[in-house]
Amino acid sequence: MAQASHDVGGRSEEPGERRVERNDRRTLGQIAGIELDPSKPAIVAESLTETFRLFHEQPGGLKERLYRFRRASFTDFNALEDVSFAIEHGESVAVIGHNGSGKSTLLKLLARILPPDEGTVTTNGRLATLLELGAGFHGDLTGRENIYLNGAILGLSRGDIDDRFDEIVDFAGIRHLLDTAVRTYSSGLYVRLGFAIAVTVDPDILLVDEVLAVGDAEFQQRSLERMQTFRDSGKTFVLVSHDMDAVRQMCDRTIVLDRGRVAFDGPVSEGVELYRQRVASGAVVAAPRRSDARKVRIEDAALLAADGAPVTEVLPSSALTLRVRLHALDPIDACNVAVTVLRGDGTHLYEVHTIWQGLGVGPLDPGQEATVDVRFVAHLLAGRYSMAVSVTDTSGRETWAVMADAVRFAVQPAPGSAGLVDLSATASVSEGPARRLGDSSSSGPIPLPRLARRRARG
């Protein structure tokens, strides 16, 4: 854990004596693992495996169990497989991955909500979880009563809550509604109250699951600031999120999960980039399908490199040609060919129609063929993309042929930049000294040797 070393260094400024003493005479709370023991990492996960049993029919109960004693059919699937890592005190770590990659399960294991089927989790320090805000609120109780109830669920004593009561109320902004049943609160207010209580727990380790994305912009800002204050005070912070901006802003280390395994564990910029590429490649839209043409048929579409050879994998900003062959079924005066470029996850990136450039295809006799070349430069960065082709009449009212997933291509990762679009930036120092530290192949966001290794692994 190289990235943890600065924390250890930071703490070593503490008087050594005190640390030794603490280590020798551990308090009851430290032994029980609920009080902070600074000599050990905040969280240690060792080869965690969590298996879920998916019953094909819901195992209703006693009756079913009795009469279909041996026939319960199920499949086991591992939500987590052999996951190990250690998190030092003061680290802020983001866990990212697709839906179903095991992020939330991991968080539940760390929070002790679920026991691991294999492996161990050791946490060190007071731990609080923000998995759901306002879980445990009772609608018939007033705001005041729910503050005490929810606080108790999160492990706060009555005295703790008394001390922080005003802080909670002001943060949530519910002073005028304190004695109203929370059932009448708006959902935003409900969540705000939940958050306000949760953050007063003041733990040593905070686990957060995707709850930052609630409430209005102002509240989001405030909660983000609250999290940052927490992080900056040297506490340990684990965030599960799909919001890459929040991840970049809040964390300095990422663990990328892919189908229950740790795909990456390291600096945030690299992890986010990797995740982005995986998302793009994982969600490629449906397989190619030719629709029946009415007046024209799209015979074929191919992506060609500058030298005319068909390609499926290109470098950023390559010059490409999409060659579309049309076959007329009816007499056509003129038609329009439209090309759309989509990112793997379906995001619409670019669209061009021949008619926009003043070009119509035709006239064509039945049986006659035409070949249309669309030349473009793929100013794209690593990821998977697809192109759709359609043929319409010149006014664009009638669609004569559609080929949804006409070609697919991948842009290879390249050193030197990261993101979605290749803006071909170059940097220079116009004033002041500068040093050359190496070329982009070694100092880029993902060093090339590692890329090569990853590629080799598949």
């Binding site: 006693l62 009756k63 250690a86 539940k108 759901e132 009772h138 109830l149 999160l154 492990g155």
Partner: protein, 304 residues
Amino acid sequence: MSGELPVDIQVPSGPRRAVRGVTGKLLQLWRARELLAQLVRKELKVRYKNSALGFLWSMLTPVLMTGVFSLVFTLIAPIEVPNYPAFFISGYLLWQFFQNSCQGAIHSIVGNGDLVKKVYFPREALPLSHVFAQLVHLLLALAVLSPYLIYTRGIGVLLYLPITLAAIALLTVFASGMAMWFAGVNVVFRDLQELFVVIFQVWFYATPVLYPLALVSDVLGDDRFARFAWLETLLAINPTTWFVELFRTGLYGPVTATSDGLVDGPPGWPDLATVGGAAGWAVLALVIGYVVFLRRARTFAKEV
């Protein structure tokens, strides 16, 4: 600096781990008392809707039941016990405490699925909160009804209050065990809550609440009913029999069968066997219930 301590991430094994586990569990339980108090408060508040009238509403059931059963068993099918209403209520209050505790607890994990899945806290707080909320309710109900009992059964009701309280304490322990058992098992076998009503209906009649235990032995002593002798054994095995008998000794007094029919005595001390039986069942239920619950509780978050 030399103070750089080695990072020791070894998991303690063997006895050390066991000690750590027990310490942790006990510490957690101790820390959870606050949560338990809040949950009990919630149960009571929701139940009484923050109003005095709310409490009166919840007294409606025992009062109505006493009325109905008194009519049936004094007029229609007489059980010749003096002050039948006092006799009935001195068993029914305890029974109601037990039944309502279990009834609340059985839904407590399944019904709080969101909470169980999203927050870590000692899960036993959920079923136990129902037991303690019902306990508060029992004590309130007892306070309200005691003038009637003192009026009909004499000042002994007050003198032998420790017996009554001891019976309540023992049943609280027993009910805690049962509540945890029901709550834990219901997570896997959801139809348990459907069976619950039937189970408790039968259990109610198998417990000497409506009738005195002495009457059963008396009736079964008759040769004509020799083949029902197992009924007496059943009643003796039934744990709730012991608690009701103990409770009733201090609140109503012992009932004995003589050749002249049933004879009641004033409230008095129970015999040691009754206390021992009740205590034995209480400890047994708590241990089994808690162990089953803890084993089940590990995977609640998956199964709820």
